[in-house]
């Protein structure tokens, strides 16, 4: 497999070129210095040669003078000069030491002459010196000079020895001068050559250096282009900062922001940075610290882009001289985080804060309140009847309702308040700086904003809410306690009749604690059979005979003793324990009635009435439950009556329809139906017409005043008339005196029930009463037949 060289950008190429340039300079400098030294040495030598050659002319003339002086008897030593002339001529031609002239100069070492012309001239000079000195010697020795052979090819026609000597001297001087000139000319030529060579070397070195420099520039450009390409094609964002602000931004930055480079360079960069991030960006770009920063830049669309940058301080790097930010665009990640955070802290259905965010805000508010001692209030809002909407119209309608409610709530709160949906139909409102009056004002606004009905699934629904308010007076506190207390206050509001608000009082907490204990014991009591059924007779107001009983559940707690139904029935309803409890009462009542029937204690007709709670009705399966109880007890359906409250049958939607159908089915089988506490609820005549009702029970609140209160009497009379008009039986509850009995009889009630006749009693006692009643009926019958 082919393996390319590892990518090492420009590690060697640039250095190689620089080294080549330096080597070229070194080589050319060395050659130049060598040539200069060499040429200088040669020039010095040639100067010495020229000096010696030129000296020959003077020596030749001096020799002639000394010969003439010596010949005339004067003190002169021409032989010394002749020797110097001769030795110098030899040294000039073949090399050696040119002797010194006394009092004039020093000995001069010479090398052999070079050059054809120079050597020919020096050779000629040497011959002329020979001829001159030979002629001089002959003249001094008084010998004839014409006989001396001339070696230099001169043809001196002069016979006068002195004239002949002078001509030879002139020739010697002349050729010496010419030789010196030739040597000097050669030296000049050498220097000219050297200068030419130096210039050529300089030009060659310069050209080569320029060539290498161009190569270096080209390599550097390639490097720069390569790195620029790497930087510009990278998705990472590169910014360089110097003393004058931003010095460089990579193309990826301009691409990302859609802004031109000039917008960001210099001090203009700060204008693109989010004001909250300017300090950190300024610190990082000026000092190189912190090493990591996250900041925002404004793009051309006016949106903030989030950048995460590594900061590198390269101010001491002479190639950069700045602080480098290598950044990544993390906008999408930040937006996703924000979205996830929003989802984690907001309710997806209504867009309001969720429980977690509310709890967090509350924690913070409590912490602030602890420091500032400022009031705060928490409102817990629960919709009344939401379950019926959800069950009756479906969950989509329920969701729509919650959205509309949330929107209405949001319109009436302050921007500084925190509105949250805690779950289901439960909302919460946090009011910082609000005292009791402020919280009450807010609660009223919430109640009022729902006073207008809501359009859901094509129906107009009237909604109510129950609001619990808790106040925190400032100082230390616990969020958990506030929510729990608001919850208690809300339940108190519900218990007090719904559609209202209650401010938390500490008594509520005590009551609630008791309720919790009661629930636990209730559950235990059901398991351990602590419940029993008591019966209260219903009397025919005319005959005073027993025509039925109402089965009433009793709880004899081992710890609490007899617990009143009003105490534990709401808890059983709230906790769902009403289902097994109701099933127990129904089964036991049927079983007991069947037993009495078998024992012949019951008149005909006789109905045992069992209370059916709204929860049981809305839960469904009532029909099967009742039929199973009847079958288990082998009781005729006509001997069983079911008492339902008005509120249990006014539920609309599917649940209401389902309950109506179940009651109708049972009614068709013979089971009797009665409306309990009639007159206290909101049932209309329409309900009475649609539901299969046999009897209405006039509520004890009217019966108690029937004797003296004309209004109660009028209501009772009207209710009775209404029942009769619809073909129903009317029974008055809570008859405690003969006067009340007389009144209700007079007002037309058919039956009566109350302490005047009997309190609720165990089955055994009831059996005795029934037996007595049977006896009395027998006696009556006997008397009648007699």
């Amino acid at each position: 497999m082919h393996r390319g060289r590892a990518f090492r950008p420009f590690t060697a190429r640039g250095r190689g070129v620089v080294a080549a340039i330096l080597l070229t300079f070194a080589l050319f400098s060395a050659i130049s210095v060598f040539l200069t030294i060499s040429a200088t040495g040669r020039s010095q030598h040639r100067a010495a040669v020229v000096e010696v050659a030129a000296r020959q002319r003077t020596l030749a003339e001096r020799y002639v003078k000394e010969v003439l002086l010596a010949r005339s008897g004067a003190q002169a030593d021409p032989t010394y000069t002749a020797a110097i002339l001769t030795r110098s001529a030899h040294a000039l031609l073949d090399g050696g030491t040119a002797p010194a002239v006394n009092g004039d100069d020093d000995e001069t070492k010479l090398s052999a002459a070079s050059g054809t012309i120079v050597r020919a001239q020096l050779n000629q000079e040497r011959r002329l010196v020979t001829d001159l000195t030979a002629t001089g010697s002959a003249l001094l020795a008084h010998r004839p000079v014409t006989t001396i052979p001339l070696t230099a090819h001169e043809r001196v026609a002069i016979v006068d020895p002195v004239g002949r000597l002078r001509v030879l001297s002139e020739l010697t001087a002349n050729v010496s001068l010419n030789a010196a000139r030739s040597i000097a000319t050669r030296a000049d030529a050498n220097i000219s050559s050297l200068i030419t060579l130096q210039v050529a070397l300089g030009v060659a070195g310069l050209l080569m250096s320029l060539l290498l420099a161009f190569a270096l520039i080209a390599a550097t450009r390639r490097q720069t282009a390569h790195f620029r390409s790497l930087v510009t094609s990278s998705t990472d964002l590169v910014l360089v900062f110097g003393p004058g602000g931003c010095r460089y931004v990579s193309q990826s930055v301009t691409d990302m922001l859609g802004r031109p480079e000039r917008d960001m360079l210099g001090h203009g960069f700060a204008r693109c940075v989010h004001p909250d991030d300017r300090v950190s960006v300024q610190a990082a770009s000026a000092h190189g610290e912190p090493h990591q920063i996250v900041f925002r830049l404004l793009d051309k669309f006016g949106e903030w882009r989030h950048l995460e940058a590594n900061v590198t301080n390269l101010r001491n790097d002479r190639r950069v001289r700045g602080v480098v930010l290598n950044a990544r665009d993390i906008t999408e990640r930040v937006q996703l985080e924000e979205e996830l955070t929003h989802q984690a802290f907001h309710d997806g259905l209504t867009g309001l804060a969720n429980r977690a965010l509310f709890r967090d805000r509350l924690d913070q508010a409590v912490a602030r309140s602890e420091r500032s001692l400022e009031d705060l209030a928490v409102l817990l809002v629960d919709l009344d009847g939401f379950k019926q909407v959800n069950d009756g119209l479906g969950h989509d309608a329920g969701d729509h309702l919650l959205q509309q409610v949330a929107a209405r709530f949001a319109e009436v709160i302050r921007p500084s308040d925190t509105l949250a949906r805690l779950g289901g139909d439960e909302f919460a409102l946090l009011l910082e700086g609000a005292n009791e009056s402020g919280a009450v004002v807010a609660a009223r606004r919430l109640l009022e904003c729902l006073s207008e009905s809501v359009d859901i699934a094509g129906r107009r629904l009237a909604l109510g809410t129950s609001i619990g308010i808790v106040l925190h007076p400032g100082g230390p506190g616990e969020s958990e306690d506030l929510i729990r207390h608001a919850d208690l206050a809300m339940y108190a509001a519900k218990g007090a009749g719904r559609g209202r608000y209650e401010v938390f009082r500490h008594e509520m907490a005590r009551e609630f604690g008791e309720l919790l204990g009661l629930e636990h014991e209730l559950r235990l009591g059901l398991e351990q059979g602590e419940f029993s059924v008591h019966y209260q007779p219903e009397i025919d107001v005319d005959t005073h005979s027993i025509v039925g009983v109402e089965a009433l559940v009793r709880w004899n707690s081992p710890t609490r003793g007899e617990v009143p139904p009003l105490r534990f029935i709401p808890i059983a309803e709230a906790t769902g324990l009403i289902m097994p409890l109701g099933e127990f009462v129904l089964g036991e009542a049927c079983r007991q009635t069947a037993q009495w029937c078998r024992e012949g204690l019951l008149p005909d007709p006789f109905v045992t009435w069992v209370n059916l709670s709204g929860k049981q009705l809305s839960h469904g399966g009532v029909s099967e439950l009742v039929q199973n109880a009847l079958e288990a007890a082998a009781l005729a359906p006509s001997m069983l009556g079911l008492e339902v409250t008005e509120t249990a049958i006014v539920v609309g939607g599917d649940a209401g329809e389902q309950a109506r159908a179940a009651l109708e089915e049972l009614h068709n089988q013979g089971v009797r139906i009665a409306i309990d506490d009639f007159g206290t609820g909101f049932s209309s005549l329409g309900h009475l017409r649609r539901f299969p009702v046999d009897m209405i029970k006039v509520d004890r609140s009217f019966v108690q005043g029937v004797e003296h209160d004309t209004k109660d009497a009028a209501i009772t009379a009207n209710l009775t008339s209404l029942a009769h008009a619809l073909g129903l039986t009317a029974i008055a509850e809570g008859i405690e005196s003969e006067g009340q009995l007389a009144s209700v009889r007079e007002l037309g009630c058919d039956l009566a029930q109350g302490y005047l006749f009997a309190r609720p009693m165990p089955a055994e006692k009831m059996a005795e009463l029934l037996a007595d009643d049977a006896d009395s009926r027998s006696a009556e019958g006997f008397r009648a037949s007699a």
Binding site: I117, N123, E154, G163, L171, V175, N178
Partner: protein
């Protein structure tokens, strides 16, 4: 013609009035050439006794070539009326050393 140390070689006689002298210096020394109309080589000397008195011969001088380096070849074109001429090198001592020759133009 040729100049050497210390001799001039040239034709002794020419028939044309127009004379082109091609002077080749073959000597080691530098030499000049002066053409003087004269009957013979007995020319007047300067007081130094070693060179010909060129000023005295100015009117008779018909051509001059300045000193040429050894090896050089120079041309000298002359219009010479018929007569006798002397060719000399008048560098110091050269004339007396033997550098002269005669030329007859017919």
């Amino acid at each position: 013609m040729t100049e050497r140390d210390f001799h001039i070689s040239a034709p002794k006689q020419v028939s044309s009035n127009i004379v082109r002298l091609s002077v080749h210096n073959r000597g080691p020394d530098a030499h000049e050439l002066i053409v003087v109309r004269a009957q013979n080589a007995h020319l007047p000397l300067r007081p130094d006794g070693s060179t010909v008195d060129e000023e005295a011969l100015e009117r008779a001088t018909v051509g001059v070539l300045e000193p040429g380096a050894p090896g050089s070849v120079r041309q000298l074109l002359l219009h010479l009326p018929p007569g006798r001429y002397v060719l000399i090198c008048n560098m110091s001592g050269h004339f007396l050393g033997g550098m002269h020759t005669e030329l007859v133009v017919q």
